[in-house]
Every structure is written in C-alpha cells, then in structure tokens.
Amino acid sequence: MQKYNGVDFYSFEKTLTDEQRSIRDTVRGFVENKFMPLVRDSYRDGTFPLELSSEMGQIGLLGSSISGYNCPGLSYTDYGIICQELERGDSGLRSFASVQGSLVMWPIATFGSDEQKEKWLPALASGSAIGCFGLTEADHGSDPGSMITTATPDGDNWILNGNKMWITNATTADVAVIWARGPEGISGFLVEKRTDGFSSAPIHGKMSLRASDTGELILDNVKIPGSCQLPGAKGLKAPLACLNQARYGIAWGAIGAAAACYDHALKYAQEREQFDKPIAGFQLVQAKLVEMITEITKAQGLVYRLAQLKDAGIDDVYLTSMAKRNNVAMALDCARVARDILGAAGITDDHPIARHMANLESVYTYEGTHDIHTLIIGAEITGIPAYRG
C-alpha cells in the first residue's frame, strides 16, 4: 500500500506555517519509520516499546508545549498536530506522550517548585525519566473528588496511603504524580520509584490500549519529604486542570486514529475487487467513506478552532470537553465502519483497524468518559450540573 499522507480534505494544513508542516512531517516520519514496525508485536505482547522513549525525547515530543528546562515551548496548534500524528500510529503512543507531557511535566511546570522543575523537567523532556499520573482509584473514577487516598503530615514529611488504579506508565515510571486527600483538601505529590512502601502492579487481560503500560499503584505508608509536595496544586481543580491539557491532545489524537482507519479503508476498497469491480465503486461503500471523511473534516474544524482559542488564552473546560467528546466518538465510529469495509480482513492485526477500534474504547472512557463530558457541556449551557443528585 502507498504511504500514509494524512487526511486533510479542507486543506487546514495549508494555513499552517512552514514550521508546523515540518513538525507534522517529523512526527509522521518518526511514527512511520520507528513506531509502525514495532506496534504489532508490542500490541500482541501488551507492552509499550520503551526503547522509543529517548528518541521521542530527542525529537522533542515530550512536554513540547512547556517552555524552558530543555522543552521546546510550542504552541497549542503545534502540540495538537503532534498528537494527531502520534495517534495515527496508536492511541498507546499518544497516551505515552500525553501522560508524560500533559499529566506529569505540565503539573510540575505549573504547580511545582523550582527545585522540582530542575530535578524533573529536563529528565522527563529527554525521555530518560518516565512519569505517571495517579488520580483514579478503583472505586473513584468519574468522581475523583471522592478519592480515599490520604496524605497525612508527619513533622516535615508526608505519609501517603491508598491505591491508584488504571494508571498509564504505572510500572515503568520513575516518578509518579500522586493526588491524595490531606488536611487542606486534595494535594499533589511527586513520589519516586523505589520509595519504601511504594509499588506497582500491571493490569492483565486488557483488550484495549495494549501497547501501553497500564497498572495499579500501591501506597502503603509511603513517607516522603515535604519538598515532594507540589506547592501550587491546591484542591481538585489542580488535577482537573492537568486533565484539561491532556484532553485537548486527545481531541486531536482521535482524529489521527480516525484518519488512519479511513486512509487504510479507502486504499483497501480501491484495491479489493468483488463482483468484478473494486468495492470502492459500490455506492454503499462510497457512502461509508464519504461519511467518514466528512466527520473527520468536521472534527478537524473543531480542533483547529479550539487551538486558536487556547493559543489566545481562552481555555474553558467545556470547550475542550466538546472536542474530546465529539472527536473520540467520531473516531470510534470511523474505526467500526472501516472494519466493516475490510470485511474479515478487518478483524486481524495484519491491518491497523481493529487495533484502533479496540484502543478507542479506552480513549472514550479515560480523561472523562463521553457521558461525563456530555454533563460538563450540559452544565455549562443549562447552568444546572447534572452529575449529582
């Protein structure tokens, strides 16, 4: 099959700068040459290809929107383009970059002390250190404000107790951003690997996001110095602000996954012949392809506008909620339709589609489920929050 050339029906990319197109090409080249040859085996094995971490750092894919500390300080549009290209490869690859950049480096850059920034940001940017973000607990998912992990002061130290569940990079991370309930509400802490009482365990049997490390973090009387608390993170709004950053990347990334499915299904349909002609020549198949590219193009309209808003400093949560909610659902629909176009071939891992389809189930759920985003937008337009009774 021909190489992947992106999906840009409305020529959004024509309005980009030369630099932004170069960023796109670099990330696309990295995904094509370095990641695609590994993804099938990684997915089968249920592991993330960690050997790519330092190369991702070298290229500048980790924490790319952060300024200083060896980070490139790119715009939101640039960051979006990066996510779109990464997730064209696999949602697990984009998740790795999202967690490292938006959920670990961003809170350190935003809420951390100078000492924390100096210690962690250059190492995380280079990919020599890996981070994870522990908010969700087994019994507290959509409602993280009810978390039961505790932070208890002990002289100059803190004692952390609790379990975090469904944590991306859990077993590989060198540092975990842990959210816990302290005397003054929810606070953030940096917990290093190999701290006494701190351990992790992989989650087995995943049928989705397999090329990603997902695990549990166990905090059993973990004693950390006061200097490990993120001084600027006060209350639940701090971790939610991190999620808002990551969700923005997901809204772009989902388009990449959808584009990968569309592009693959289109090429397949042009080559696959039934009833003596390419199946792309049948009206029903064309209708499916047209529906896909229309939805992808609409989704691109959302994120290009959202990027402008964010680059202009307008960053309300419900704006990002709409793009995450719409684009992930759109991508999931595209993946399912693309799978249908490939017929039986679509269910094997000879093709990327079933992998994207399964991945997108996770993406639909994490960083605020589809329905939670419905409620966030609903609360904004009606003025009545519906999450609680």
């Binding site: 630099e19 170069s22 080249g29």
Partner: protein, 259 residues
C-alpha cells in the same frame, strides 16, 4: 573547514502527473515538493562530518529556486544542522545540468569550500550530472555514487558503487562527492531545531551578484510524453510451482521475448 551541500527541491515521488497526451508543458501546480532524497544523504553526511570535526566546521546548503524551495531548505537542511543557506533566486526551473553547475560554480568559487556534497542525482530529471560538472568546473577531485566516506579533515577514502561491486578511491580536499543511498540514515529534525531553523541566516543571491550572466541553455525540452499504457497482466494459475516456473520461462522467451 567549509562544507557546501548542493540541494534541489523535487516533486514527491508519489506525485501524480496529469498528462493525457504529449505536450510541451507539464502542469506542475499540484505537485507536492520535497527535498531530493539523495540530497538528504548529502546533508546528513555533511552534518556527521561537522559533528566529527567540531564546531569550526561550517555547513552551507546551496539551492537555486524561488521562494517555495525555502520550506525544504528550512526543514531538511537548516533544521537538521546546516548552519546557513544560500539561495540563488534567478529563474532557472527545468534548466540543463550545465546551467545549474555553472551557477553553483560561481558560488563555490566565491566562498572556497573544502568539501562539496551533492545527491547522486535528482529524482525528477535523473540527469546525474550536476555534481560532476561542478567539480570539473571548480577543478576539484570528485567521486560519484558514494556509499561510504571516511574523512580526516584533509584526506578522504570514498567507496563508490560500480557495476557488480565497489571501488575504493583516495584523495584530498578540495573534493566533491555525489551521495548514494546507503551512505547514512538521514535524521529527523527535532522540534526545537525546526523552530530555530527560521532564524538561521539565508543569503539571497542573483547571478548578477555573483558576477556572471544567467547561463544560457544549449537545448530545449520540446515534448513530455506520458508512459505507454501497461499491457494486460497475465496470471499463471498452476498449483505446482515448478510447472508454473516452466510456463513463465516459456512465456518470457516466446511471447515477451526477453530471455
């Protein structure tokens, strides 16, 4: 140490050319333009030499063309490590190899490069001549189709591809090499370097600035002809591979008459 890399922007190899009938003109408007892939080996080699020899080595990318070539210069030359670029702005699209070589000669003579690296050919016109002509016009040593290069700052050992094998050539600067696939693996530009590339110096020149006339062409392209339609494909359906091979050999000999 001054190193020049001569580069060209060409249509992407997947570009579809709309040419139904023979014509004097090619519609180039819808072309996606990229750096000539062989030039990427030249750029990478120059940067590797710079990394080895140290910072007082300067790598300059030289290109002839309009404003549209700058996207490739920034992304594929400056962002990956060239220090600066020179763009000759005269209208020389689709020029002959000798016209291009003469202009490049004026730049190379003006600046006095120790090493010049080129791609072994441009994938659009497939001439494979510019580099060698440039070396001759500048009276430099040259080795073409290089697949391996060792260079200590003065002397080089270059391995070049020849029919059925390879040839090892030794010499000294000033020297020019045309680079072949296999010489190295071109790196991807990092995002921070992409952002910095726009700030690197680009010198704009005309032939007049270089003290030469725009070189005249000796020939004229009269017609572009689309490739002949491919013949019908014949599939040999024989379960037994040995029998299928025999049948294929027979067809190649008797019908296609190529063996």
């Amino acid at each position: 140490m001054k190193i020049a890399v001569c580069v060209k922007q060409v249509p992407d190899s997947e570009t579809r050319i709309n040419l139904a009938e023979p014509s004097a003109e090619l519609d180039r408007s819808g072309f996606t333009r990229v750096l000539n892939p062989y030039d990427a080996y030249a750029v990478e080699e120059a940067i590797q030499i710079k990394e080895k020899l140290g910072d007082d080595t300067e790598v300059t990318a030289i290109i002839i063309g309009g404003e549209q070539v700058m996207e490739s210069v920034k992304k594929d030359c400056l962002a990956v490590g060239c220090d600066k670029a020179i763009r000759v702005t005269d209208e020389l699209d689709n020029a002959e190899a000798l016209q291009i070589a003469k202009v490049l000669t004026a730049v190379v003579k003006r600046d006095g490069y120790d090493l010049v690296l080129c791609g072994k050919q441009a994938i659009d016109d497939d001439d494979s001549q510019v580099g060698i002509m440039l070396a001759e016009l500048c009276d430099m040593a040259h080795v073409s189709v290089v697949t391996d290069l060792e260079f200590d700052g003065n002397n080089f050992t270059a391995t070049r591809e020849i029919e059925g094998g390879s040839e090892v050539v030794k010499g000294a600067t000033p020297a020019l090499f045309t680079c072949q696939k296999g010489l190295n693996e071109p790196r991807l530009p990092s995002l921070p370097n992409i952002m910095k590339a726009g700030m690197k110096p680009v010198e704009l020149l005309t032939c007049a600035d270089l003290g030469i006339e725009v070189p005249a062409a000796h020939t004229e392209i009269t017609t572009y002809i689309p490739p002949a339609k491919r013949g019908e494909c014949k599939i040999i359906e024989n379960e037994d591979p040995a029998a299928a091979a025999q049948e294929l050999a027979k067809l190649l000999r008797e019908e296609a008459k190529i063996i």
